[in-house]
């Protein structure tokens, strides 16, 4: 079994009081709670902190943990022999995680208490929560993910039409219940992987469309990439930067019928460097053109 130093995780002394443990946990939870911190690894860190707190905040579990003695984190160690009989259920060659052991411990003692009261309490199975990081192609064609759960893996079909940040619930497909209790649920949080070209907003996709100044001035026929192949669009003469061209139905597919739209956002880009010949032509254009882009500045600064 791999040792984990729960005191180190919470950054406290081994002799810390219950109050100090609670304070340390709350301070760290505020930093790493997945609802508060969007930083990379925050969720993982929060799980470690919660695991440490769950064991150290329960006097019975803390005592059992302290009885293990001190080891280096990650060090392989053998729990005292009586642990086998106290907690072990599965085959001994199986790699057991320390957290599972302590989870079982609380579970069993609460079960014992309930049985002592003469009631066989139904206990709901464990919920399974997972994040599915999917590509745009996967969400637009539908895909499958496999989740680990107590009592065997479960394969889940992700339907067409899910979007970034969406949460799916699959009732009664989590861990099995006991004492006649129902199975837990599966919760799947969808996250879209960034795409080099398309930015999703709901079911719509945004694509930046760079144009040369002459394309913007004279109009152009341009081929764009889309999720289902290339499409031709017409840029009208006199196009402005920031304008959106809407390609209906070329976004992400929605549940049921239809799909979002693809928006090409126009951007006018200058070549760097601008060649001699180009500069010459721009000078000529500047002389020939009476275009005034700032008529609203004409009143002067005193008008406010």
């Amino acid at each position: 079994m791999k040792f984990k130093d729960y005191y180190e995780t919470l950054a406290i002394e081994r002799g810390a009081s219950a109050e100090e443990i609670k304070k340390a946990y709350r301070r760290l939870a505020r930093q790493c709670h997945p609802d508060i911190s969007k930083e990379e690894g925050a969720e993982e860190r929060f799980k470690e902190i919660s695991e440490a707190y769950q064991t150290l905040s329960d006097p019975e579990k803390r005592q059992a943990y302290d009885d293990l003695g001190r080891h280096n984190p990650g060090e392989d160690f053998r729990p005292p022999p009586d642990w086998e009989t106290r907690f072990s259920t599965g085959p001994s060659q199986q790699e057991v995680d320390l957290s599972e052991l302590f989870e079982q411990m609380g579970f069993r003692s609460s079960q014992r208490r309930r049985q002592a009261a003469g009631v066989d309490f139904p206990i709901r199975g464990q919920d399974v929560e997972a994040v599915a990081r999917l590509s745009l192609d996967e969400v637009s064609s539908g895909t499958q993910v496999t989740l680990e759960r107590p009592g065997g893996n479960v394969r889940i079909r992700v339907p067409v039409g899910v979007t970034d940040g969406e949460r799916l619930r699959i009732p009664a497909r989590g861990g099995p219940g006991s004492g006649g209790g129902p199975a837990g649920d599966v919760y799947l949080h969808i996250q879209l992987q960034p795409h080099p070209l398309f930015r999703p907003v709901g079911h719509d996709l945004y694509l930046e469309l760079p144009l040369t100044p002459s394309e913007a001035a004279l109009g152009a026929q341009i081929e764009l990439p889309s999720l289902d192949g290339r499409v031709r669009v017409t840029v009208k003469p006199g196009a402005q930067a920031g304008q959106k061209l809407r390609l209906a139905g070329k976004g992400l597919r929605q549940r049921g019928e239809g799909a979002g739209d693809l928006y090409a956002v126009l951007r006018i880009v200058m070549p760097t460097p601008i060649s001699e010949r180009e500069q010459e032509l721009y000078r000529e254009l500047a002389e020939a053109s009476s275009f005034q882009p700032r008529p609203h500045f004409a009143g002067g600064s005193s008008d406010g």
Binding site: R26, R169, P182, V201, K244, Y263, V265
Partner: protein, 108 residues
């Protein structure tokens, strides 16, 4: 893997779907106490429609309730604190969504 069980698509319940959830299921799935649920409904954080046998919630209420239970357990919140935290989080997320939309209009 052989022991995988394929789940039919119709069992997936999206948060914005119109699959209604009753109070008992919401409480069992979230770990929320009944008194807390009543307060969160009174605050207007969880929306209800009145069914023939009691309150009916939208599917997204399960996700809201689970989230608020995690915040309760991490920070020792009471129902008014839970209501406030959830309101702010949802407001922040709506703003983040709007920000993402606007960012799409800017050059990268």
């Amino acid at each position: 893997m052989d022991d995988d069980r394929l789940i039919p698509e119709d069992l997936l319940i999206p948060a914005d779907g119109d699959m209604p959830v009753e109070s008992a299921e919401l409480l069992a799935a979230s770990g929320l106490a009944y008194e807390e649920l009543v307060e969160l409904v009174e605050f207007g954080v969880l929306q209800i429609s009145e069914g023939s046998t009691g309150w009916i919630f939208q599917a997204r209420a399960v996700h809201q309730a689970r989230r608020v239970v995690k915040l309760r357990d991490s920070f020792g919140l009471n129902p008014p604190g839970m209501a406030l935290a959830l309101t702010y989080l949802e407001k922040i997320e709506a703003l983040e969504q709007r920000l993402r939309e606007l960012e799409c209009l800017l050059p990268r």
